[in-house]
Symmetry: C2
């Protein structure tokens, strides 16, 4: 009744399109090919519907058909759209070069990310390495929001209602240690409010420190700096934190200055 009618002639959106996007999203690192049956299961859609939608996606160039195994793979078009996204991102364009410089100057990794549902996705990640190794960019890589400094900084940066919505989702999906985890997340959020940054080591021997970037006209981003092969220490965290605060301030300045194009 009060149940807002989804998918009538109007306000709510387009069902087929939503479903098609959901199919594309079903492909993630680790699932390189999917057959119609598997897609139907994962997305909760009737098989005949999936069959039609995947055909459309193939015709539109978003999926490649793997005839031999009756399955599909993401097509190269998706990376060209991804490239367009990076190219068109004013935030990345403005501070990408600054991130590179900062990484070299401070001798640590510098990353920029924003949210994709309950994950954080890197727009850029500059890995510092003395020999300037090649593998710097892992743009598009996702890390879990609730476990990472990036994610927690993001949570600290968004509106409260949205934050609570997300926290509920984590509660629902985390199987174990939920209570403790959520408390830890809230502690990180408080840290951001107090110090401007939060520090987390969700991967062994990696210390990561992140801060939110709240700007006009774009989603909330998070900046991080991280170091490998170190022990967590509050002194180190606060040193990196102060670098990060200074860097974030500089970035915001630049973005405020060049935004009004």
């Amino acid at each position: 009744m009060a149940q807002a009618r989804r998918y009538a002639g109007g306000v709510d959106g387009n069902r087929s399109l939503e479903r098609g996007i959901e199919i594309l999203r079903a492909f993630r690192p680790g699932v390189d090919t999917l057959g119609n049956g598997e897609i139907a299961e994962r997305c909760g859609l009737p098989r005949s519907t999936v069959s039609r939608l995947t055909r459309t996606l193939v015709n539109s160039g978003m999926l490649d058909e793997v005839r031999t195994e009756r399955s599909y793979r993401l097509a190269a078009s998706v990376i060209s759209i991804g490239h367009a996204m990076r190219t068109g991102s004013p935030v990345l364009n403005a501070i990408g070069p600054m991130m590179r410089a900062e990484s070299a100057k401070r001798r640590l990794n510098v990353g920029l990310a924003t949210a994709d549902r309950t994950m954080m996705v890197y727009l850029e990640s500059i890995r510092y390495s003395p020999r300037a190794a090649l593998r710097n960019v892992v743009a598009g890589q996702q890390v879990p929001m609730e476990l990472t400094s990036l994610g927690r900084a993001y949570l600290a940066g968004i509106a409260e209602t949205e934050r609570e919505r997300l926290l509920k989702l984590f509660k629902r999906r985390s199987t174990a240690a939920t209570k403790a985890l959520l408390a830890d997340v809230r502690r990180s959020i408080s840290a951001v409010e107090r110090d401007g940054y939060c520090a987390v080591s969700w991967q062994p021997a990696v210390l990561a420190v992140a801060t939110p970037m709240v700007l006009d006209g774009v989603p909330v981003y998070a900046l991080n700096m991280s170091l490998q092969n170190v022990d967590r220490s509050d002194a180190l965290a606060s040193e990196i934190g102060s670098y990060l605060n200074a860097f974030a301030a500089k970035c915001k300045e630049v973005l405020a200055g060049r935004e009004p194009e």
Copy 2:
């Protein structure tokens, strides 16, 4: 009549999904934000329809709304899907590391691309630089098929019917020099058939040599090697061409060996 009915209850696909994808595609490097009106014009769709579809794309996380200027931007989700594509590409996974090694060994740029409609899109591009500079990856970048060695190698690798279809499209869009250009394209295709590779310099002082990679179960790819700041010379082209032929052969071997997973 004979006009195959598009968009009935079946065989041809889904109209809304196709349109939604077309909207995403309207964002390309150079067009960072688009309003509904502009989208409507570019995609040839009624404005009210675009309004609904963009809303859906926002809800699905593919577009970000820029309230201040009543327009949209590609959202970060698209790069996470792009990342999944690269992660799931068996070809890129297999030969990406080989490309890196080859680039270092031969001291030149090595690229891997495939087609997105009438453009070639890089899956990977290893730029050789003595100081191992950072900016190596331009994955997702597009270059015109008819003007590049990559594109012409690709054309040489695909089925003839498809090739002729594409050539007709070039004829239609090229404003000038069509005759000469098409002849040049055909010359390159013959070169591939004769020598295994073709050489083109569509950018000043860059010599690029490319060869097709025709494999089972995946689209046709093209590999290229290129050098900056050189004069075009047949001797140089044939030297690089022989490197490329050898490298491509090695790649095909590896791919044949590890395909049957």
